[in-house]
Each structure stands twice: as structure tokens, then as C-alpha cells.
């Protein structure tokens, strides 16, 4: 990987996502911002996918189980050329191909539909099993939220993954420490996710979810030691000035002015860090 290239990709994705949400006037900014760097690494350096052939059977799959953060994934897919960036401005409009929650039937590059939290990991296991049974190549990456891991179905899936030594699937936890109603530590403490996954029989890694090199290193290590999970330590709302706040940022009304300021700040920070 090239650090600068991936950081630039992350900045572009962040800016497109802010533009997209501003065009709608509102949206799931917090959880979208926390995964922009992870998506940038996945789509720049990890995933074997082809925007011109998004359904290629032996592709790598990316399932965004925290489906409400579709806007970040749509920005990524537009950035990669799956569809025109202008389409991002149609988010949530009637008849759009970009609904608030990921829909595989509507958006090129969306592998599976998500939105009812807790279901993406099982879908990913099914794809991984389907590939194995049919001798089809490609891996599966599933992004789950830390709050989302409160849903019991995840732990059914984790038990299955461990018992069956699923070797072509990586669990990615967006550990942004917050959920809709507040901080996970106040609503339902997560304790130590690394220790939890390890106790279930999963190789667990931790990464700084906003450091593209660390993300890359841990995802690469995880993909080589499946069954594996990478706990990405992230900040909800990260990288967007108006959403980097301790208060409610799950879902925000976004004005043109807020978007312009935030986008300028993304550019400024990128320049400073390159």
C-alpha cells in the first residue's frame, strides 16, 4: 500500500460522504465518518473487486452490516467508479438507487442488503460457505458496529465461524464506542472485545481505525489467520469538524455552510498529515 494514496482516498471519500449527506440535508454522519478510513483501505488496498463487473462471482465481498452507514459506502463506491458521483446527491430521494440502508437490489457494488442490525455477519458466513462449497475464490469482509454487537445473532455467527474454522471471512468491528442513544459504556458496556472474540475461538487484532497503515497491516494479518476479527478503534463522527462532538451525532441535520466548513477542514488536515 501507499500511505499517501490511501489517505487521499480516505479524504475524498469523507468529502463525498459529507456532500452526499448535505445534499439530503440530514443523515447518519457519525457512524459514516467512523468507517471512512477503513473503507478507503479496503477499496484501495485489500478488496479484489471490479467496478465494471460488480457481480463477478470470485470477487471479494464487503458487507456493511451496520447498514445505516450506507452513505459512507456509497461515497466509496462512487469514488471507485461503480456509479457517477453525481448520484450521491439523490440519497434518500424517492426512486433513488441510494437508500439510507444498503440495498443490493438498488446499488451497484452493494453485495448484500442490511439495515436490521445483527444480520450481516450471518449473511457473510453464508457467502463464505457458498464460495468454499463451490470452489469459488474470493474472501468476505463484514463490518459490524460495536453497538450492533449487542444483537445476539452476531454471537451465534461467531460461534459458527469459530467451530467451522471459516477461513475466508474477516470480521471488522467499528468500535466507535457510541450508539444511537449515547455511549455504549452507559447503555450496555462492551467490555474487552478482543478478549471476547478470543474467548469464542477467533483470532482478534486491534487497530487504530483512523490510521490507514495500521488498518492495512491488521486486515492483512487477519486475512491470513482466519477465523479472525479486527477491532478498529475509531471515533464516531471522526474527520468531520461538526460531527466531532461529544453530544448526539448519530444522525444530524447538515446545512450547506456546515458541509463547506467540514470539507475545507478535511483538506486542511490531509495536507498537514501528508
Amino acid at each position: 500500500m501507499d500511505r499517501k494514496t490511501t489517505m487521499k482516498a480516505a479524504a475524498e471519500i469523507r468529502k463525498l460522504c459529507i456532500e452526499e449527506l448535505a445534499a439530503a440535508g440530514y443523515g447518519h454522519i457519525g457512524g459514516s465518518m467512523s468507517i471512512c478510513d477503513i473503507l478507503a483501505v479496503l477499496y484501495t488496498d485489500i478488496l479484489d473487486t471490479d467496478p465494471k463487473d460488480p457481480r463477478r462471482p470470485d470477487r471479494d465481498y464487503l458487507i456493511l452490516s451496520k447498514g445505516h452507514c450506507g452513505p459512507a459506502l456509497y461515497a466509496t463506491l462512487a469514488y471507485k467508479g461503480y456509479f457517477d458521483v453525481e448520484e450521491l446527491k439523490t440519497l434518500n430521494r424517492g426512486g433513488t438507487s441510494l437508500p439510507s440502508h444498503c440495498d443490493r437490489l438498488k446499488t451497484p457494488g452493494i453485495d448484500l442488503s442490511t439495515g436490521s442490525l445483527g444480520q450481516g455477519l450471518s449473511l457473510g458466513v453464508g457467502v463464505a460457505m457458498g464460495k468454499k462449497i463451490q470452489g469459488v475464490g474470493g474472501r468476505v469482509f463484514v463490518i459490524v458496529g460495536d453497538g450492533e454487537l449487542q444483537e445476539g445473532q452476531n454471537w451465534e455467527a461467531v460461534q459458527f465461524i469459530a467451530h467451522n474454522s471459516i477461513s475466508n471471512l474477516v470480521i471488522i468491528v467499528d468500535n466507535n464506542k457510541r450508539q444511537l442513544d449515547g455511549y455504549t459504556k452507559d447503555i450496555c458496556r462492551t467490555f474487552d472485545y478482543k478478549a471476547k472474540f478470543e474467548s469464542f475461538g477467533i483470532h482478534a487484532f486491534e487497530a487504530n481505525g483512523h490510521d490507514v497503515c495500521d488498518i492495512y497491516d491488521k486486515l492483512t494479518a487477519a486475512a491470513g489467520t482466519c477465523p479472525a476479527a479486527v477491532i478498529m478503534n475509531t471515533e464516531k463522527g471522526h474527520g468531520c469538524s461538526f460531527s466531532e462532538i461529544p453530544g448526539f451525532n448519530h444522525y444530524m441535520v447538515i446545512s450547506r455552510e456546515m458541509a463547506d466548513q467540514a470539507i475545507a477542514e478535511v483538506d486542511r488536515r490531509l495536507e498537514a498529515s501528508l
Binding site: P57, D103, R104, L105, D111, L112, S113, G115, S116, G118, Q119, L121, S122, L123, G124, V125, G126, V127, A128, M129, G130, K131, I133, Q134, V136, G152, Q153, E156, A157, Q159, F160, H163
Partner: protein, 327 residues
């Protein structure tokens, strides 16, 4: 006088054995068929499939939500998963997964729910699905099949393999009364007419088909001639057969091993209300949860008997006569 129930006896083969044989027959010619279980391969009888196709059999353990979601993911890659659990857990427990992970994203998953209604018998109320059909009917484009006996599994499984979508097979696992001869023909979505009277039409599914035939015999003794339809496909409903019954018989009794709300009776009433309303009486479970007991006890307890169908038919015919006298 010949009786509709002449020659009908308890099958020598268990329903689950007939089901698994049908699935194995299909799987020998179709490498995409996968069996998924939630720790019930012994109970629902899929063990022979595991022996013949070990690489295409997955016992998840007791995790229905995951098993359904995983099945959806497998179908995305082109496989045809058949997911098995007791009916209550196959549908009610995993409903959101069936709805969103499977149906909403137009995937190809077959749900097989064992022990319909009172056939759950001594497993009791926790295991007794009276609502599974209602739940599955609410899913857009779902298909719901409930065989009356073992003869239908070949047609049912073949349909499920060869037609894309979310299908629910509501299946007894034990021996049941054998209505049909070997080789009987079934068309999914087309009711089988088992008797052709013109006074009242009894529309039944599953174990209630036999009760309907017994009821028709009892009615014939009173000079009342009943049509009997085996509505093995509850969705899509054979509305042409229902409409014809309304037109030609003028009175309809439905009989189901399920809550009358949301089930076959509801489906028939909905179809008639929009086409040709005639008096309907619904025999089935009414505002009750299941409970423990032998199947015979439970059929009487919940009114799932030929005697109840006869009473319903007589009431329905009297309503028809009142309606006709007002014209």
C-alpha cells in the same frame, strides 16, 4: 355406498422419511441443494442426506437466526439452501431474518418447518405453531405448501428446487393418513378436488384433509353433498378453485390445523370478499395457544375434527339458505 375414506389408512412410512427421500432424489441431480439444520437433523429426518452428501449438509447448532441468515448468504452465491427447524422456530423465531435477509433482498431460501399445529403433540404449546402460515403469508411473494400426506413431497420439493424465492414447507414428520396413491399428481398453486358435491365446499390443508373427507362422508349420510378441496398450496391461493366453489356450492367451510386468523380460512375469506362473497365458516384454532397432549386429544381440544366440520357445514348451509330467501 362407497365412502370417501374407503382405503385410507395410516401410512407405513413417516412423513420425514418421504421428505428426505424426495430431497435426496433432487440433490442427486442438482449439486446446488444444501441442507441446513438447527440441531434437528434427527428430528426432522434429514440424517440420510448428511450421509449421502456430507459436503452439502450443515448442522449449525441451536441458532435459527444465524442459520437463516447464513442460508440467505449461501443463496447469494447460487446455492439452494433448505433450512430445517421445528415450525415455531423456523418461522416465528427467525422471522426478521426470513423477511429481511432472505425475502427483502430477493434471495432463494427454502424454509422447512416441522410439526405443524397439534402434530407437535407432547412437545406442547412452546413447540406448537398455530401462527406460522400467518407469518409467512405476510412476506411478499412467499410460497406456502402444506402436504396432506407423503405422496406430495416429490412435487413440493421439486417445485421448491426449480422455482426461485422464499418458500415455506409446513411438514409433519410422523406417519399420517395416506390420502393419495403413489404417483398422484400435484400442481403447486392448484387445489386437488377430492370430492365433488354441490351443497357446500370444504377447503382443507394438511391433517385436516382427512378430517374433511370424513366430514363429507358424515354429511352424505344426511343427504348433504360436499365438495372437498385439498388446498395444499396456501399461497399463492388457488383463487379460481375458491371462486368456483363459491359459485357452484354457495357455502364454504375452511379447515386448518392453525389459527383461523392469518391462515387458510383467512386467505379464503380475503379472496372471496374481493370476488364472490358467500357464507364461510372457519374450522381451526381460535384465540388459543397450543398445549401438551396426544394429537387426538388436541384435535378435539381445539375443534380440529370431522364433527366440527360437519357442524360448520350445516351452519354454513343454513346461512346460505337465509341469504337465498332474502333474494
Amino acid at each position: 355406498m362407497s365412502r370417501l375414506t374407503d382405503g385410507i389408512a395410516l401410512d407405513t412410512k413417516e412423513m420425514r422419511a418421504a421428505y428426505c427421500e424426495a430431497l435426496i432424489r433432487e440433490a442427486r441431480n442438482n449439486g446446488r441443494i444444501i441442507v441446513v439444520d438447527a440441531d434437528v437433523s434427527h428430528s426432522v429426518g434429514t440424517e440420510p442426506f448428511y450421509k449421502e452428501f456430507p459436503g452439502r449438509s450443515i448442522n449449525c447448532g441451536i441458532m435459527e437466526a444465524h442459520a437463516v441468515g447464513m442460508s440467505a448468504g449461501m443463496s447469494e452465491t447460487g446455492l439452494i439452501p433448505f433450512f430445517h427447524a421445528f415450525g415455531v422456530f423456523a418461522t416465528r423465531r427467525a422471522f426478521d431474518q426470513i423477511f429481511l435477509s432472505c425475502a427483502y433482498q430477493k434471495l432463494n431460501v427454502k424454509i422447512v418447518g416441522a410439526d405443524p399445529g397439534v402434530t407437535a403433540a407432547t412437545n406442547g404449546g412452546t413447540h406448537m405453531p398455530f401462527e406460522d402460515i400467518g407469518l409467512m403469508r405476510l412476506i411478499p411473494n412467499s410460497v406456502i405448501i402444506e402436504p396432506a400426506d407423503a405422496a406430495m413431497y416429490g412435487a413440493a420439493v421439486s417445485y421448491m428446487v426449480n422455482n426461485y424465492g422464499v418458500h415455506y414447507l409446513r411438514t409433519s414428520r410422523r406417519k399420517t393418513m395416506r390420502i393419495y396413491p403413489d404417483g398422484a399428481e400435484f400442481v403447486i398453486g392448484k387445489a386437488n378436488k377430492l370430492a365433488d358435491g354441490g351443497d357446500v365446499c370444504i377447503i382443507a390443508s394438511g391433517i385436516m384433509v382427512y378430517e374433511a373427507l370424513k366430514a363429507a362422508d358424515m354429511l352424505a349420510d344426511k343427504g348433504i353433498y360436499a365438495r372437498v378441496l385439498d388446498m395444499h398450496t396456501i399461497k399463492p391461493l388457488d383463487t379460481a378453485a375458491v371462486e368456483a366453489a363459491a359459485r357452484e356450492c354457495g357455502a364454504i367451510v375452511t379447515a386448518e390445523n392453525h389459527n383461523v386468523t392469518g391462515g387458510l380460512g383467512a386467505a379464503v375469506c380475503e379472496a372471496l370478499a374481493e370476488t364472490l362473497p358467500v357464507p364461510v365458516e372457519r374450522v381451526g384454532v381460535k384465540e388459543s395457544f397450543g398445549e401438551v397432549g396426544g394429537q387426538d386429544y388436541l384435535q378435539k381440544r381445539f375443534g380440529l375434527t370431522a364433527e366440527e366440520i360437519v357442524k360448520a357445514a350445516e351452519k354454513c348451509i343454513s346461512r346460505k339458505k337465509i341469504q337465498e330467501s332474502k333474494k
